[in-house]
Homo-oligomer: 148 residues x 2
DNA sequence: CAAAGTAGTTTCAAATCAAGACCGGTTTGA
DNA sequence: TCAAACCGGTCTTGATTTGAAACTACTTTG
């Protein structure tokens, strides 16, 4: 991953987020975690990532408070990587990537996995940014206000 | 950037998206584009990225159909990089990163920029994944269905 | 017409990555 | 109970990517 800039002085939340987790592996690890993966070796198997990189990223994600290490739930003496509440709140980020990919990266005869609500079995609705009164806002109807 | 995997055989939209644009620079370029940046030199100034990297990423983003090159709108003979509709639909991804960052990467005395609706001047509502009937769904209330 | 700006490409050293060997504990199963 | 397989890493090495700066050619400004 590219060298991170000085995260303390960065006032754009997008940049600060990307400096922290804006690399392919971090987000794929989080995606797998939402699929229920918790063990080092299962992340490694599913992602096909080099062990050394995986170890490095998991260390980073734990330091960042996105995962925490907990004793294995199956009674063995191994450990598990579990999403913290902070990590769970990355769900909208993963869903946003998923929905964009579904809409723009797959042709009609190009099968892809679908994220469904367990209750209804139906796909989620498409997420859209909305103003305080609930109306969908297009990008050009918004503006970034810099701090003081 | 890490070598991309075979994007054709990847059936997870999250992975396909991240393989394409899951690097820090691509998404920061798109963020700046939403702030109205269109010119090579302005991207370069604002991001502080090496020119060679910027040229490479813009080429990739144009190839991917996220930006298109159009004649400069100021009458000069230069060109501009403009988001396509496909690129504009990355807005929810950027907003998701922003909202996560705002909530989890800044302390109370730690100023950050805010994305507001131009109409009301108020911040956007927090995006949340919802089921078909409009209820907010937590990560564990969803499941990924693999293609056939 | 000179100086400054635009939009890159090229070069090269340094950082990062991927693949695989290695390693010390743990668990499984014959 | 003891060997084999599994777990969760680290270390080494060669390949790839990055960042910084110099260089280029064209355009605009003053």
């Amino acid at each position: 991953m590219a060298k991170r800039r000085d995260n303390e002085t960065e006032t754009c939340p997008v940049a600060r987020s990307l400096d922290l987790i804006g690399d392919r592996w971090c987000l794929l690890i989080v995606r797998d975690a939402f699929d229920g993966v918790r063990r080092f070796s299962e992340f490694q198997r599913r992602l096909g990532v080099a062990r050394s990189i995986l170890a490095d990223r998991l260390r980073l994600l734990v330091e960042a408070g996105i995962f925490e290490i907990s004793p294995a739930s199956d009674g063995t003496s191994y450990q598990e990587y579990v999403l913290t509440p902070k990590g769970e709140r990355l769900f909208p980020v993963i869903v946003a990537f998923r929905q964009w990919g579904e809409q723009h990266l797959f042709g009609p005869r190009d099968a892809h996995s679908v994220l469904v609500d367990k209750g209804s079995g139906k796909p989620l609705t498409v997420m859209e940014p909305r103003s305080a009164d609930g109306k969908v806002v297009r990008p050009w109807e918004t503006t970034v206000k810099l701090p003081r």
